[in-house]
């Protein structure tokens, strides 16, 4: 039954030795920034943890997060972790459909009330329930209903965590994040577009072994979102030396100089992309020659343009600047004209000025 630990049995079935598992746990400590000596403890905890029931809700999303977590290149222990949960509902992955699928969800909710884990990808539209619904149930209703009996919620991807693309200006559906609706349950945000697969499974592993990880003020596990990409970037020495690529195909870009001027959001983006990397540690956007978009941060679509340097103003500065020049010159000329007129008038009327009036005027300004 779901409450019995499954991992040792599965390891046996897959012909995975405990040594392999220990190796995976060592890698896990590395990515979770835990002391490496913790590896045997994590192994033990994962082996004895009961198998949790998981309900995965997909709302306004692109399925990129599901793709990322289920498509590691080789069969791996990460998959094993993913397999070790009892995924009782995931409308993209499950075989059942329609009423049968919804029935599975309701059954899981009943059987494991108060103990199941809810994973959400996608944001929730508030303007019209009909903008996104599953089996005739609006996203809002399904989230509220399912969250009520959950032990915890994991918001996978920036849409579920912060609103993401659906919430980007002008937010046509009135999309919000899970945490904007559910306030009485622990929520772990795992943002990213998509999040790094290893990060998703590691958070899951952490939940299975030690419960809810330590979170930052944006609800993200500190182990993965404590440091900016900029601080861990291999191009950082070029930033410090003042060497920057000016375009995507100049000498600087070819020599691997810093991409700050090309709009890289590394300095304000917290994630482990620069160390854990993507596609089995092959590379990450900056290594591929493109600046960071800042996809693990709230409102990243609207934060001043992907290709604009972080230091550049984000508003209507060009039009404002032109208007200021015209207005400034006109007002200056007008002021001068008035002053001349006043002077002529004062002269004509023989007004007198003494040192005290001047001092008074000086004091006022």
């Amino acid at each position: 039954m779901p409450s019995s630990p499954l991992l040792p049995k599965m390891m046996k079935a897959h012909g995975v030795s405990r040594r392999s598992f220990l190796k995976y746990c060592a890698t896990l400590t590395s990515v979770m920034a835990l002391p490496p000596a913790m590896a045997p403890k994590i192994a033990h905890a994962l082996e004895t943890a009961p198998r949790p029931s998981v309900i995965w809700l997909s709302f306004q999303e692109c399925t990129g997060c599901t793709e990322a977590i289920t498509r590691s290149s080789a069969p791996s222990l990460e998959e094993l972790i993913f397999d070790s949960i009892s995924l009782d509902y995931h409308h993209t992955l499950q075989a059942a459909s329609g009423d049968a699928a919804e029935h599975a969800r309701e059954e899981a909710m009943k059987a494991h009330h108060g103990k199941y884990l809810v994973i959400v990808d996608g944001s929730i539209p508030l303007d019209e329930p009909g903008y996104s619904a599953i089996a005739g149930i609006s996203n809002l209703d399904m989230l509220k209903e399912t969250a009520a009996g959950a032990a915890a919620i994991v918001s996978i991807g920036t849409c579920a965590a912060y609103g993401g693309l659906p919430q980007a200006n002008p937010n046509p559906t009135g999309a919000v994040a899970v945490s904007d609706i559910i306030t009485d349950k622990p929520i772990i945000n795992v943002p990213g577009c998509p999040p790094i697969p290893l990060v998703m499974t590691a958070v899951l592993a952490h939940y299975l072994t030690f419960g809810i990880p330590e979170l930052d003020e944006l609800g993200r596990p500190k182990a993965f979102f404590a440091e900016s990409i900029h601080d861990r970037c291999y191009r950082r020495p070029f930033y410090d030396k003042g060497l920057f690529a000016e375009s995507f195909d100049d000498e600087g870009a070819r020599a691997g100089w810093c991409l700050y001027k090309l709009g890289c959001k590394g300095p304000t983006t917290k994630s482990v992309c620069a160390t854990v990397k993507w596609n089995d540690s092959t590379s990450f956007p900056i290594q591929a020659g493109h600046g960071c978009l800042g996809c693990t941060e709230p409102d990243f679509w609207d934060n001043g343009g992907f290709y604009k340097p972080l230091s550049a103003p984000a508003g209507n500065y060009r039009r404002v600047g032109q208007a200021a020049v015209v207005a400034g010159v006109a007002a200056g000329a007008g002021g001068a004209y008035l002053a001349k007129k006043n002077k002529a008038k004062a002269l004509a009327e023989h007004e007198t000025v003494d040192a005290f009036t001047l001092e008074k005027e000086e004091g006022e300004s």
Partner: protein
Amino acid sequence: MNNPNFDLLMFARGPLFDIALLVFVAGVLIRVVEILILGRKKDFSKAKGQPVQQGIKTIFTRTFPRPGAIKANPITIVGGYVFHIGFFIAFLLFVPHIALIEELTGLSWPGVGRVVIEGATVLAVIAGLALLYTRWKDPVRRKLTTWVDYLVLILSLLPLITGYVAVNKLFGDPTFMMALHVLSVDILMIVFPFTKLMHAFTFAMARYYNGSIQGRKGAES
């Protein structure tokens, strides 16, 4: 869910920067245009020397202190130099700042490395604090100083301090400190046209007038 620190940064970079830019550009232009149009009363006497040449020359010669001035007021003069040079190195040679200026004007030039920028910043802040101290300590200067003068000096130091803290992540959330940095610059830009900070633009005109008056009289300046 929002990141309040980032929202503050976006406000400082966005709408507030627009307002600051409007006040700064329009304010500076109003004052400079007015000064230029008003000009000086025409002097009909025959010039005994070379007013134009002396005027232009004075713009540059007044950059250097007259003999004995350093000895009389070492902190004011040396501190003044260090502050101004340090401020402009940090402002004009730090690449993120150049990126900003390029975005606004299309003009760009190469920057320098972090060691130079941070060295200049630290020296400028120390010099600024020394200037603040002597201004407050010397009874005569203290009497001459209004609260606006203190405010302006402190507002000029804030961008240097907040920038240094934000880039080096000394304390506070780095995004929040960066927002404070941009905010401090916005405020500096807004108060600029209404305070003695205008000297950055009017110094040349003032020196020219002084030099040309002397030049007309046949004196060297």
